[in-house]
Amino acid sequence: MERNKVLAEVQDIFRDVLDEEEIVLTDATSADDIEEWDSLSHIQLIVAIEKHFKIKFTSKEILSWKNVGELVDSTMSKLA
């Protein structure tokens, strides 16, 4: 799957889980940029992304991402 498509689908998941239609994600977007993205909703996002792409992140990955770009990279690596 193309990176852009993965990013777009991740964006849809963010909008749905955080209940905020205005969210636009770029690789540089981090939790500081989105009000609703806190440590609690982070877990919901992870679980929703795992379900959507039928993948499983490791515990280490969940704690390591600094921004959306890294999250998408992890996702891409599991889809390949």
Binding site: V17, Q44, I62
Partner: protein, 574 residues
């Protein structure tokens, strides 16, 4: 089942105007999302959960310190969530020779919790984790973790009988249904200390709210069944009673037989079973009478309605006979059209979306936990007989033009007793579940009822009602409290709605006045505290000849004992 995401959205819409319930939550793992799920599930059921959430892993500290935030919050329900994972950690750190004490030590803590906490406690059974140290041989080793976990769960169940305020949310059973791999997500746990998976949270919150709602008097009392392809396989009008799929021989009969066994167990527990079917009544009844594979018998059915009319109207008819709220009814029907119709016309009736394959009915119904309860007593078993009698009474009443003549013909008798060991469980149960004919809706536990029974300043009265059609059992509870030397306050007046329009309130009033006279009281004061459900008794005291106490802040009424004229009624003292 709603997802966590949906629960959050419901919560976002606010809980204004909903009744509030104070809930405390303590956990030994991260509970923030459980807190969100609990509040969301509360809002979905029309309850504003006012939640105190303790810092995590402070369970012991908060419980053992009488001055802690937890105790000063004074919740109606305290939810204490201690997880198997943390228990396993404790176990692993113990010296091997001490591990055999694990269950005992935890039970001692739960006992302390019960002794030191006001209000109701919701504690969780421990889902099993096999730590694979002994293999299956663990079942032979007292110090193995599984051995201790099972012993602990058994001990908790015993403790919950000792402490009526202790309710167990059976997480072990819930996990047995859904599996640990669904309940527990190791990557989430390791990175966040959250023990319940995002998918498990709504399930757990729902089970907890089931317990809270049942304790608040909101629970299901009645199961209404369609017949064709719900209770048996096939259409009796087309196939004939002898060709129904039932039992272990024909087609998928086994599925229906096991479903019927479940229904009979519910009836034995005290759930009222009714039939609402599109059929000729004689044809439908014939299947019950003649098919030897039927587990469910006509005797199990309180109200049997089979005709070709609209099912919503038929359920209204059942409701008027039983005199219980629509929100306490469950309707099961295999036909999506009938389900939709009933759901649209009677939104308060619970209409589960039965799976298409009858083989899946039971597992689906198990997952719904439709029949949570906060009490269970022996008297529950007779309820079907009582409602069958009521069904007969309704048709008998049609033959009399004069109500008084009809009441006279019933030959009613009432036994008036105090609170005694044999009736205390029933009194507590009525106190917990009566919503409509309940003047003040003060809920008492069995322990509190026991205390009042021996309190010299309390007058405790119970009433049974029997007539030619049957025994209604204990139907009315009165608690009188001495306000001062001359004044008697009616703390509790509640009655079963089964006995409305029978003159029972007059008989009860006569008895209260008798009690007041015998104990030297000159004045009786009653109070009406309105709730969403007790509008039917708003004018109760005026109707009995009380006059309003104008100075009072609440709706209070008084009666002068010496000027009371005994009410005429057709109930004899037994």
């Amino acid at each position: 089942m709603k997802s966590l995401k949906e629960l959050k959205r419901i919560l976002k819409q606010g809980t204004e105007g909903m009744p509030e319930v104070k809930v405390a939550l303590l956990g030994d793992t991260a509970t923030q999302l459980l807190a969100t799920a609990l509040k969301g599930e509360g809002a979905a059921r029309g309850l504003a959960v006012d939640l105190y959430e303790g810092e995590y892993s402070q369970v012991e500290m908060q419980v053992l310190d009488p001055g802690s935030e937890f105790h000063s919050f004074d919740a109606s329900f305290s939810i204490i969530f201690q997880s198997t994972h943390k228990l396993l950690e404790t176990y692993s750190l113990m010296k091997p020779e001490a591990r055999v004490q694990l269950a005992k030590e935890r039970l001692a803590f739960v006992r302390t919790l019960c002794e030191s906490t006001n209000g109701k406690i919701i504690y969780f059974t421990y889902p099993e984790i096999g730590d694979a140290v002994f293999g299956s041989y663990q079942t032979k080793v007292q110090s193995s973790f599984i051995y201790q976990t099972r012993k602990l769960n058994m001990g908790l169940m015993e403790l919950s009988q000792e402490y009526p305020q202790l309710f167990l949310c059976d997480l072990a059973e819930l996990q047995a249904k859904y599996g640990r791999d669904m309940f527990f997500q190791s990557n989430v746990y390791v990175s966040t200390e959250m023990i319940l998976s995002v998918d498990a949270l709504p399930l757990v919150a729902s089970r907890v709210l089931d317990i809270i709602c049942a304790n608040r008097g909101q629970f299901k009392k009645c199961l209404i069944l369609d017949l064709d392809n719900t209770v048996w396989g096939g259409v009796v009008g087309d196939d004939g009673w002898e060709n129904l799929q039932l039992g272990h021989g024909l087609g998928i009969g086994k599925a229906f037989t096991e479903f019927q066994q479940w229904v009979v167990k519910l009836r034995q527990r005290g759930i009222i079973i009714c039939v609402c079917s599109k059929n000729d009544e004689a044809v439908a009844r014939e299947a019950f009478e003649k098919n030897p594979e039927m587990v469910l018998k006509l005797d199990d059915i309180a109200v049997f309605v089979a005709n070709w009319e609209n099912k919503a109207d038929n359920i209204r008819r059942i409701q008027s006979i039983l005199n219980i709220g629509f929100d306490s009814m469950v309707f099961l029907d295999d036909n999506p059209f009938e389900r939709g119709l009933v759901r649209d016309s009677l939104p308060e009736v619970c209409v589960p979306e039965l799976p298409e394959d009858p083989g899946e009915y039971l597992e689906f119904l198990y997952s719904q936990n439709l029949f949570e309860t906060a009490s269970f007593s022996e008297a529950d078993k007779d309820r079907t007989k009582q409602y069958q009698a009521e069904s007969n009474r309704v048709s008998y009443a049609g033959k009399f033009t004069n109500e008084s003549d009809y009441l006279k013909s019933l030959g009613m008798e009432s036994a008036v007793r105090g609170f005694e060991p044999f009736n205390i469980p029933r009194v507590a149960q009525l106190s917990q579940r009566s919503n409509q004919f309940n003047l003040r809706t003060v809920r008492y536990t069995e322990d509190q009822v026991k205390q009042m029974a021996t309190d010299p300043d309390c007058g405790c009265l119970t009433f049974t009602l029997e007539d030619k059609f049957g025994d209604n059992g204990l139907v009315c509870v009165i608690i009188l409290k001495k306000q001062d030397a001359e004044t008697l306050f009616i703390d509790t007046w509640l009655m079963s709605c089964r006995v409305l329009k029978r003159g029972m309130e007059h008989f009860t009033m006569n008895t209260i006045v008798e009690y007041a006279k015998a104990n030297g009281f000159k004045r009786i004061v009653g109070e009406y505290l309105p709730t969403a459900k007790n509008g039917m008794v708003a004018d109760h005291y005026q109707n009995l000849g009380f006059s309003k106490v104008e100075a009072a802040e609440t709706a209070q009424y008084e009666l002068n004992v010496s000027s009371y004229e005994e009410k005429i009624c057709h109930i004899a003292k037994k």
